[in-house]
Amino acid sequence: MKCGSMDWDAAVTWTANGTDIDDSRLNGSYLVLRNVDLMQSGQYSCYEGSSWHLKYQTYLRVGTPPKEPVLMCRSNNYPKGFYCSWHLPSPTYIPNSFNISVIHGTREMVCEKDIFPKNRCHIRYLQLFSTVKYKVTLTVTNALGKNSTTLTFDEFTIVKPDPPENVVAKPVPNNPRRLEVAWQNPSSWPDPESFPLKFFLRYRPLILDQWQHVELSDGTSHTITDAYAGKEYIIQVAAKDNDIGTWSDWSVAVHATPWMEEPKHLTTEAQVTETTSTSTSSFMPPPTTKICDKGAVVGSGAVAVCWTAGLVLAAYGVLFI
């Protein structure tokens, strides 16, 4: 760096961010920086010899040329249009400018940049059902160089709705194995009547890792009928256009537990022996799975003794002692 209009052999002092720079880095009055790295960014000043008059000042920004940018295009509002968004895989530390071009056949299309975020722009479809591919080229340029990337795709392949919204899951009264799930179309999908979505629902009890899946070709609700009684479930829904494109990301997860019967009070043996009245509401087994299978004793002619029945008999027996 030259110290303004100072002669090569003038006596000068250079500073970086207010700190004096050693004379070993000078070539006459020139400052020479070798193997520049990011740490050397900052304000550089040059002062004349003993007077300390400021002769030159500059801000040095150390950066890198841009790497190949990452570009993505998607239609979450088919058939209105699609958007493309981009980012750099690593920062350059200096300002970059981005230029995007969208070509469809011989036609160049306008990509309207979003105010926020700045790395996104929208394209309106001028045609639907075209076999001609779209070619999107993004070029990033900075003071040290430029780089670009190109995406080529069909109209249908980039269609991916946003996830369903307002997913709600509720227990079904008096039914310990059911959960009612309802959701709404993503608000960004402009015309679900003409371009209906289908849905994929997944659910599992929190205590298990394995998901159950259900694909639904219409409607925005579903009743799960095989939930484990009393277990909390996690439920998510995804959406896809009925005919084209790919599945959305999963919706926000919701939790629900199937309806459970209110637990009745257990009457202990001690309480039963204290009472002299003939109470008949002494013992009800909890709503757990029966121990014996009804089907196994049909036609046997023998008395089927299930555990729960045996306990009831014992309780009543104690009552009447």
Partner: protein, 200 residues
């Protein structure tokens, strides 16, 4: 345009549209499989670009959302009648080549041709319901052009199947528009909800 639809006509139209949608979706699935087989058997590159072809109805539509119901039906019918002729021609060419290994391809082509014919008939039924009646078929086949070389014929076949696949999706959408109740329902000519290119 036509007067308000009777309830039975409305029911018939919705039924025809539903069945048509199922036909179109099945056709699309079979055309997709046929396309894969065709590309493989003909030794083509699946990503090869094919320029616009004479006589092959392009599915691409500007202002699709603004089309009237009659326009949709007539465009669809014209397209599938053209595809019927194009696929018949492709089948004949395949038979001339007569490689035994291509028998499966010929069968698949014949099956899709059958579906295209059925769909064209379905559209004619819908047009009759519109009290328009289907237009007469002009000419027996695709326009006669210069005899193409083998590779050019293969590329043309690729183009035909690609456009047919797009048409199958477009027809599904068109029939859904037709099936919708509303001010334009019942054979009216009201425009469908605006699609792309609004304000253009």
């Amino acid at each position: 345009m036509a007067a308000a639809e009777t309830p039975s006509a409305a029911l018939r139209r919705r039924d025809l549209c539903s069945r048509g949608i199922r036909l179109a979706r099945k056709m699309r699935s079979d055309v997709a499989d046929l396309l894969d087989a065709y590309v493989e058997r003909q030794g083509l590159d699946a990503s090869a670009s094919v320029a616009a072809l004479d006589g092959v109805p392009a599915a691409a539509a500007e202002r699709w959302g603004e089309q009237t119901e009659s326009q949709r039906l007539l465009d669809n019918l014209a397209a599938y009648r053209a595809f019927r002729a194009l696929l018949t021609e492709m089948l004949e060419e395949q038979r001339e080549q007569a490689a035994p290994a291509d028998a499966a391809l010929r069968e698949a082509l014949a099956a899709v041709l059958l579906q295209v014919s059925a769909f064209a008939y379905h559209l004619e039924e819908l047009l009759r319901l519109e009290s328009r009646g289907p237009p007469g078929e002009e000419g027996a086949g695709p326009p006669a052009g210069p005899r193409l070389g083998l590779f050019e014929r293969k590329l043309r076949g690729l183009g035909v199947l690609r456009e047919l696949a797009q048409w199958a999706v477009r027809s599904t959408r068109d029939l859904r528009q037709l099936a919708k109740p509303g001010p334009g329902g019942g054979g009216g000519g009201a425009a469908a909800p605006a699609g792309p290119a609004e304000g253009q």
